[in-house]
């Protein structure tokens, strides 16, 4: 149990990837706060996972302050922050409304900023105990290369990547490590929405055929599970990763290691 005695906050903790991180952290012995808009998050149902639910809208400064006050009162320190809350607007910039653009940045970029900003005092305290504290942001392979029709999403993830490096520089001296995980295709409600969304299914394929075609483009011939992502988050959160900071960790089954796969 490599997170024994540690306290963690996971935003989007009741969503596709967040839920798996919460479950893994619990198994590794951490006390976990799962923050999300609702108890169920983006999943239809929520099974009791031993985490403490915090109602948190990451775009709201007051919510971030309240969440940290609660953790300060109950524990007093925070060792691990995972900024997993995120949304995806499936449009080009021409189709994207200003409202959708602003919402994308509010959740994906500003949310990471706000939660981290108010978590820092608690994380500094944790780090002063001699082990490093760890912030894990959610970038995306889309922050490096673009999927068509995901313009605002790609831009927010690029912002998270740069913010990750900036935070690592600023807070490394305080014993706080900051990294970003950049997932590729992971089986989540967000991915299923992408498959069923407008313009994603070309050539009259069924969803199953479309999913298989996507798997086939990957060198590993599959896309990831939330648990695959949680495996790396868990390591980055642990003291084994004490020298890892300021990095963007791509976890995509080799997808972005290859060039375009022409049908020759």
């Amino acid at each position: 149990m490599i997170l024994d005695g540690k306290t963690a906050l996971v935003t989007g903790g009741r969503g596709g990837i967040g839920r798996a991180i919460v479950a893994r952290f619990r198994r590794e012995g951490a006390k976990v706060y799962a923050a999300d808009l609702t108890q169920e998050g983006s999943l239809a149902v929520h099974d009791e996972d031993g985490s403490t639910f915090i109602k948190l809208d990451v775009t709201q400064e007051a919510d971030a302050i309240t969440a940290m006050e609660l953790i300060a009162e109950e524990v007093g320190t925070l060792d691990i922050l995972v900024n997993a809350a995120g949304i995806e607007i499936e449009k080009s910039i021409e189709e994207t409304t200003l409202e959708e653009w602003n919402l994308s940045f509010a959740v994906n970029a500003t949310g990471t900023f706000l939660t981290s900003k108010y978590a820092l005092p608690l994380m500094r305290k944790a780090a002063s105990n001699g082990t490093s504290a760890s912030i894990i942001n959610f970038g995306s392979y889309d922050g490096f290369i673009a999927d068509p029709g995901l313009a605002a999403y790609c831009a927010t993830k690029g912002a998270v990547h740069a913010l990750t490096r900036a935070m690592a520089c600023d807070h490394g001296p305080e014993g706080i490590r900051v990294n970003a995980i950049c997932p590729g295709y992971v089986d989540t409600p967000m991915l299923q929405s992408f498959f069923t969304g407008d313009g994603s299914g070309g050539g009259g394929k069924t969803i199953d055929q479309l999913q298989q075609a996507v798997r086939d483009v990957h060198p590993m011939r599959t896309y990831g599970t939330p648990e695959d992502i949680a495996n790396l988050v868990n390591w980055l959160a642990s003291d084994e990763a004490r020298y890892a900071s300021g990095q963007l960790w791509i976890l995509d089954g080799g997808l972005s290691a290859q060039v375009q796969q022409m049908k020759l």
Binding site: A146, S200, K263
Partner: protein, 247 residues
């Protein structure tokens, strides 16, 4: 306006393709160009272009080439070969060929010419998008281009400020090789269409597209550019290999 007036350039592998495009552009910009290759002078090489027979993979031949050519201002390492195989299928001969030309060849020419390059000279290596992301069944080629990228940074660091060194990473450039690839497909028309859809420019590159960047990197306008890779691929590697609209 001729941007390379009075400059002396060596472009390896100028017989055809990208190398030929670069030497044409250099000459149009006023440079004096020498190119080289393994055989005899090509009949269609412009008269003003000097030809030297040399195999870049052979250090003795390259040393002799450098002593014949003398001082230069621009070196373009363009000569390259590719073998379409995985690691498991690659033979020792494949290794000698690909690594010999693409890696040792670049090393040979850089080492031979560095001591006789003018102050402010520019080395331009032809890397590849394949040195950054992998083309399937091109293992030695991909690795050889990553070597070129690493050597580019090292030369920039070690030999600045007197010499600048950059790499150009071309994507799919229209050469005989590209057309031959489509002809091998079961459905050449569909294959071509699919490949075009994966380029934001909706066209493949031309040697002149690469030459345009080479001219800039060779010119004094690029005086602060060194140690970098310049990808010219019509936007192909900016996009994810998953494009569900094409499935």
């Amino acid at each position: 306006m001729a941007r390379l007036t009075g400059k002396r350039a060596v472009v390896t592998g100028g017989r055809q393709g990208i190398g030929r495009g670069i030497l044409d552009a250099f000459m149009a910009e006023g440079a004096r160009v020498t190119t080289c290759g393994r055989g005899s002078r090509p009949d269609d090489l412009p008269e003003a272009c000097s030809w030297q027979t040399a195999d870049v993979s052979d250090p003795d031949q390259v040393a002799a080439l450098a002593s014949r050519v003398g001082e230069i201002d621009i070196l373009v390492n363009n000569a390259g070969v590719q073998v379409e195989k995985t690691v498991a299928d690659s033979t020792d001969d494949d290794w000698e060929l690909v690594i010999g030309v693409n890696c040792r060849g670049v090393f040979n020419t850089c080492r031979a010419f560095l001591s006789q390059m003018s102050n402010g000279a520019s080395i331009i290596n032809i890397g590849s998008i394949s040195g950054r992301v992998a083309d399937p069944s091109m293992a030695l080629y991909n690795a050889s281009k990553a070597f070129v990228h690493g050597l580019t940074r090292s030369i920039a660091v070690d030999h600045g400020p007197s010499v600048r060194c950059n790499a150009i990473c071309p994507g799919w450039i229209e050469t005989g090789m590209l057309e031959a690839g489509f002809d091998l497909s079961d459905d050449p028309v569909a294959a071509r269409k699919d490949a075009l859809e994966r380029h934001a420019t909706r066209r493949f590159g031309k040697p002149a597209d690469i030459a345009a960047m080479a001219v800039w990197l060779a010119s004094d306008e690029a005086g602060f550019a060194t140690g970098q890779f310049f990808t010219i691929d019509g936007g192909m590697t900016a996009a994810s290999p998953i494009n569900t609209g094409l499935f």
